[in-house]
Symmetry: C2
Subunit: 221 residues, 2 copies
């Protein structure tokens, strides 16, 4: 596809960057990755070169030609409006509400509460030890996944994917969140619908290529 | 305007409910409010009658006819798609990205980190005292407003409002966040652009009618 150059500022294990990588792959868009190491040397996201791109000092940032785009859901909707096929949003206002709902249940109410900067504040300002921080992470992930499972299960709009038979922005958010849940040892047994959807996503090449361990900046564990 | 019955489950001081009240008022839609008292009796949002509407146990919930809508930004976009005039989103993909960006800088990265349920976890599980919790709130608000001020200031797309000359979803999110900032004593002096925009909003009847102290469930301080 002919389009302006696309560059993603990404960190392999960033959940928000992972969402955008999935969306770019689903759109079939070629892009280059500039890794931003969130931990090395105090965090490259805090260096002036990156702050000039994003005063929030968070990944991802997407450059599309000379446009600087930020916030993963806003980036995905932009990609969907700019490169309509295949769609990442459903056709009706009712269904779009539902896709945004699931995406926001993750991108507002799970992920930012347990993000790196919050964990660093818990550690440095409140003296919360690693066990306490990991329990914090699991608490918010479980609380969010409980509600998402209830939203998706036994709902006629739920299909192979979060909404119907094609991946949408909701799946772009769900898969990275479940990756994080497993990373931190959340018991996924209660989430049958979520597990089924994530399995359906994770056999698709667009989702596989976006996985953290496939990224150029991935590190041995 | 002729439309299905609209009912908002709201709490007067909830920042997310406040966003939706502004959007409904800007659309000129009549709606009834069902108050959900977030503190009384262990929190009415945790009672089964409300959990049946929202397994996340958060306000707001909007009923539109028989549709149950959740997540404030997803609700506002639904309202904008369903009742197009006046628009709460700009006309181009580039500008919509920018409005969603500002909205998400607030609704993802400030508000959920300092929401009631997080403060309750800090208090009950981690023993953080009131002074520590209020410093937590101010820290995340300041960090977010710093980045928003930089995003809005000296940007040609910024107008009387966050994006151009009409209120958008970004303003629906910004005004409640600044209300919260002032409530918790954040020094607003560094945020000249934000203050100017919020002042422009807060003289409009649609924003005035949405204010917490104007709500049926508002309490004397």
């Amino acid at each position: 596809m002919n389009h302006g150059t696309i560059r993603l500022y990404s960190y392999w294990r960033s959940s928000a960057a992972y969402r955008v990588r999935i969306a770019l792959n689903l759109k079939g868009l070629a892009y280059e990755i500039t890794p931003v190491h969130l931990l090395r040397d105090g965090g490259e996201q805090h260096k002036q070169a990156f702050v000039d791109l994003n005063p929030q000092q968070l990944v991802p940032v997407l450059l599309h030609g000379n446009r600087v785009l930020r916030q993963s859901m806003a980036i995905i909707e932009y990609l969907d409006e700019t490169f309509p096929a295949p769609p990442l949003m459903p056709a009706t206002a009712r269904d779009r509400q539902r896709v945004r709902l699931v995406a926001q249940m993750i991108a507002c109410d799970i992920h930012p509460v347990a993000n790196l900067r919050v964990l660093q504040y818990l550690e440095r300002n409140l003296g919360v030890d690693q066990a306490g921080r990991e329990e914090w992470i699991r608490h918010w992930i479980r609380s969010g996944l409980d509600a998402i499972e209830e939203t998706l299960a036994d709902n006629p709009s739920t299909g192979t994917f979060c909404d119907g038979e094609q991946p949408t922005m909701a799946d772009c958010c769900l898969v990275p969140q479940v990756f994080n849940a497993e990373r931190f040892g959340v018991d996924m047994a209660p989430y049958a619908t979520i597990r089924r959807i994530v399995q359906a996503c994770n056999v698709l090449p667009e989702f596989i290529a976006a996985r953290p361990e496939r990224q150029p900046d991935a590190q041995a564990q």
